[in-house]
Amino acid sequence: MATLELDSVTKVFQDGNDEIVAVDDVSASVDDGEFLVVVGPSGCGKSTMLRMIAGLESITSGTLSLADRVINDVKSQDRNIAMVFQSYALYPHMSVRENMSFGLEESTDIPDDEIQQMVSETGELLGISELLDRKPSELSGGQQQRVALGRAIVRDPEVFLMDEPLSNLDAKLRAQMRTELQRLQDDLGVTTIYVTHDQTEAMTMGDRIAILNDGRLQQISTPLECYHKPANKFVAGFLGEPSMNFFDVTLQDGVLRGDSFEYPISSDVQANLGDTTDLVLGIRPEDIELVESASGDHDFETVVDVIEPMGDENTVYLQFDPDAGEDAETLIASTDGFTRVPEGDEVIAQIPEDAIHIFDRATGDALHNRSLDDAETIDLE
């Protein structure tokens, strides 16, 4: 168990004469016993980053250190790192017991009877004791997943790496394993890096999440901080389902002018924006209130276009100007499941000023994030 440190780690793939930068100058520090979730869209470099930590890919530049020891050139088999693969990668010709003891036999000098003892204990911990003598082909997907997990746990490595380990499970089992993995990691206290593209896993599992896009680290922070105080437009749009509404706006005399609306902002908010005038206004669907009648300059007349009932909540697609047809700017709002809004009706959408985010349109950087005065119970640190 140890701190894992990435310092300006970069990976460049050569494709003929082209250079493809898969991971670009990523620096991060994962504390002893921390659960870090790395999340991002497909092809963002998150798996490459994990494979570099595992030693399965070489590091083009930068340093990777584990417990203050640089391990750039240490071979995979000498790193004392265990990895759980998406495909589980079990050894098909070995029983579950042999699968789990393989790592200990290869990497340690522990005598056979002790190894068997450790395998049995881990089997009990994961509830797979009765499966130990079966072959992987005789197990269900969920059971194979447990064995893959057990194979990593029994080695008691310094770092766990997990590459989308739950993505081959059905939704129910995935939710169940999510909680169980968290509990296990808590009990074992092993530094864990968990790669996923599923934002539910990202939000719920990690102590911190690292968001990657195009090989660059966008933000690394607690899940709630990333959600409420995104560093840039990418993070704001990536986290949250349905995702944040964005509108291109221009700042003029304290008013944000968009194609379909004008949104006056207070001097406090304006102070955060500096000289930038080409901006993007962001608002999360759940922060939009649907009200009966307009009462202020943050209320806008809209028409309900489509409504998607989810049971516990409704996702409502609102149009500012229904006459604009296809080009009409849409606003997505989430309301609770009992609010009935018929399609085609006119409603007033209230966009509270304390919930808005404002981004620099050129760089995507967040200039102003929502205030959290009304949410002091949320512990962001």
């Binding site: 399965l56 995979s76 088999q77 495909s87 990668a89 393989f102 290869e106």
Partner: protein, 313 residues
Amino acid sequence: MSDTESRTDGDAAVTARIRQNLEQTTVEDVGLYVVLLVMAAFYLVPIESGLVTSFKTGTAVIETAPFAPPGPSGFTLAKWQAAVDALLRGMGNSLLYAVPATVISAVVGSLMAYGLTIPNWKQAYKAPLLAIIIAGIFIPYQAVLVPLTQFWSQWVELTSLLSFVWALGIPNDYAGIIELIVTHVAYGIPMCTLLFRTYYTNLSEEMIESARLDGASLRRVYRRIVLPLSGPMFAVVLIYQFTQIWNDLLFTLVLVATESSPAAPVVLILAGLGSSLEGQDFALRMAGAFLAALPTLAVYIFFGDEFAEGVAA
């Protein structure tokens, strides 16, 4: 009572099914089966003829049709007895080089293919090596006959190099057996490597990576993961190589030459078996051919299941 009833029900169902099947049989179906039967007969008649001929006395061979059974008066096991007497020595000699050559070329091929696929060595080193190996498959036997005799008679003279072995009382003709082993291994490696390589490129990459992360060195990954998973491909390669080497006449002619040699392989003896100035002894030739083919047949039966699995892979 319900028992009998259900049985009659069952019978009725079966009859109904048969009737239904018959009704659905078309002229095309009938034609297909006729063609298949004719083809099966076409391929099986020579084998059947050979087998019945091998049990016939000299007169029965002349008096009965080739594919007709010998009948009680024309039946004899003498030809088989003669074939066993003549060929047993040769079969021993053939096994002496066919088995080691098969095993060595399979093992070397497997190791070579492992090196060319699993370790992440630079493609710049792997590709030329693979090209050379593949080129080896296409060298015809005829092209190497002269260099081969040159090599074994002038450069590497085993008869003089291994003089201490012959001093033990082993006839120095057995140098030919060692030459056959080395030659067949060299000739078999390219094909074996190619077969194993195809198999290894299909192994799960994540599984190998997982083993590396589990602390296994390259050597241990081969020993504990790749080799145990190679069973089906070993069956394919062993059958292929064994049949190839056992049946090869060209190299044995060049390297051992005479059937009177104590080290003569079965193919050399078989070539002259049953032919003399008085004419051809067909029954003896057939019995000899079947006897000589038995080991290759045994290999197929022995590794049949793995072979099917390997071919499917």
